[in-house]
């Protein structure tokens, strides 16, 4: 019986990188088929294969870590670097949209009426729903910290309670944003104001949904006793991602909702 003499994880051969790459190909081609030929078959197929890949890939990681014990401190360190770099890439992603917003709003063109908000645009009142949204996300940041501390103290009941509160606050935020989208007096096609507003807040909303999904997975894993008080990197990664989502909202609120109104 051979044993490795290092603390790294030599992964079993896996088909998921291939299916993931192919599903990305289907997604891009599917978008072309949808835009130009009014057909949604490929796009739907791509979402399905993407979801299947993600489910099985992450299921395998849970099997390798929680059930097989391959996540040594060395491996965990690599995962931490990975999550940090991923979140950093997301920060840069949002930086682009904030750049676009400031580019247009700091020097509004004559076509916009030389002002920001542009002539004719009635922006949302930052002290109404957007302020409530801010408090909801800030509260969810507090509750997820409570969940983490409970986890480190081995307090199972409170981990579940605090995680549930965090998830519910995330859903509440999403619901409020959806209603705001319906009620807004301007649309995405209302010039550069509409474009910057809806693309930036839209991508943020997508990240809230992704973050909420991650938290739900953590909740289910906590129910199934996967986390220990000393080793729960999946939870920490979800918490980092959630805080990132919260911080992006704060930038959004201050820049687009408040300064931009």
């Amino acid at each position: 019986m051979t044993h490795q003499t290092h603390s790294y994880h030599m992964v079993n051969p896996s088909p998921w990188p291939l299916t993931g790459a192919l599903s990305a190909f289907l997604m891009t081609s599917g978008l072309i088929m949808w835009f130009h030929f009014n057909s949604m078959i490929l796009l739907t197929l791509s979402f399905l294969t993407n979801t299947l890949t993600m489910y099985q890939w992450w299921r395998d990681i849970i099997r390798e870590s929680t059930f097989q014990g391959h996540h040594t401190p060395t491996v965990q360190k690599g995962l931490r670097y990975g999550m940090v770099l991923f979140i950093l890439s997301e920060v840069l992603f949002f930086t682009g949209f904030f750049w676009a917003f400031y580019h247009s709003s700091l020097a509004p063109t004559p076509e916009l009426g030389g002002s920001w908000p542009p002539t004719g645009i009635h922006p949302l009142n930052p002290l109404e729903l957007p302020l409530l949204n801010t408090s909801v996300l800030l509260a969810s940041g507090v509750s997820i910290t409570w969940a983490h501390h409970s986890l480190m103290e081995g307090d199972r009941k409170h981990v579940l309670q605090a995680l549930l509160i965090t998830i519910m606050l995330g859903f509440y935020f999403t619901l409020l944003q959806v209603s705001e989208y319906y009620e807004a007096p301007f649309t995405i096609s209302d010039g550069i104001y509409g474009s910057t507003f809806f693309v930036t807040t839209g991508f943020h909303g997508l990240h809230v949904i992704i973050g909420s999904t991650f938290l739900i997975i953590c909740f289910m894993r906590q129910m199934m006793f996967h986390f220990t008080s000393g080793h729960h990197f999946g939870f920490e990664a979800a918490a980092w991602y959630w805080h990132f989502v919260d911080v992006v909202w704060l930038f959004l609120y201050v820049s687009i909702y408040w300064w931009g109104s």
Partner: protein
């Protein structure tokens, strides 16, 4: 890496666990001298490595599998969550039968794998045909 001693499982959000009764506040002396060159970098590093520090102190808390230790004699309090199946799953997945992790559960894993592969590869072939057809000029 040298680390400060850990006295309790409760810890500050940002930093190394210490004897600080107010764990949310930073204590300058909880860090070894080596790290005190750059406080911002230290805080940044600490956020992301707080779970990795090895337990050095003899007073380190035991690893607690998230079941309530006080109620360990009461087996009915957490019935809503079911019992902890992790140990048996660990035994199951650690069987050395040479099966790769994505197929280790047998039939359900195989079905899902085959479905995913069929949809992806089939979809790719369909996609290539569709793209080929789309690239043909349409004569009016």
């Amino acid at each position: 890496m040298a680390h400060g001693p850990r006295r309790s499982a409760a810890c500050g959000i940002l930093l190394d666990r210490g004897t600080n009764p107010c764990p949310l506040h930073r204590q300058a002396d909880s860090q070894p001298l080596r790290h005190q060159g750059s406080p911002c970098f230290t805080i940044f590093l600490n956020i992301f490595t707080v779970g990795l520090r090895p337990v050095v102190s003899t007073e380190a808390p035991p690893i607690i599998f998230a079941t309530p230790t006080k109620l360990s004699s009461n087996s009915t309090a957490y019935d809503y969550a079911g019992k902890n199946k992790v140990p048996e799953l660990q035994k199951f997945f650690q069987k050395s039968d040479g099966v790769p992790i994505h197929l280790k559960r047998g039939l359900p894993d195989q079905m899902l794998y085959r479905t995913t592969m069929a949809l992806t590869v089939g979809g790719t072939i369909y996609c290539l045909i569709a793209l080929y057809m789309a690239s043909q000029p349409r004569n009016k």
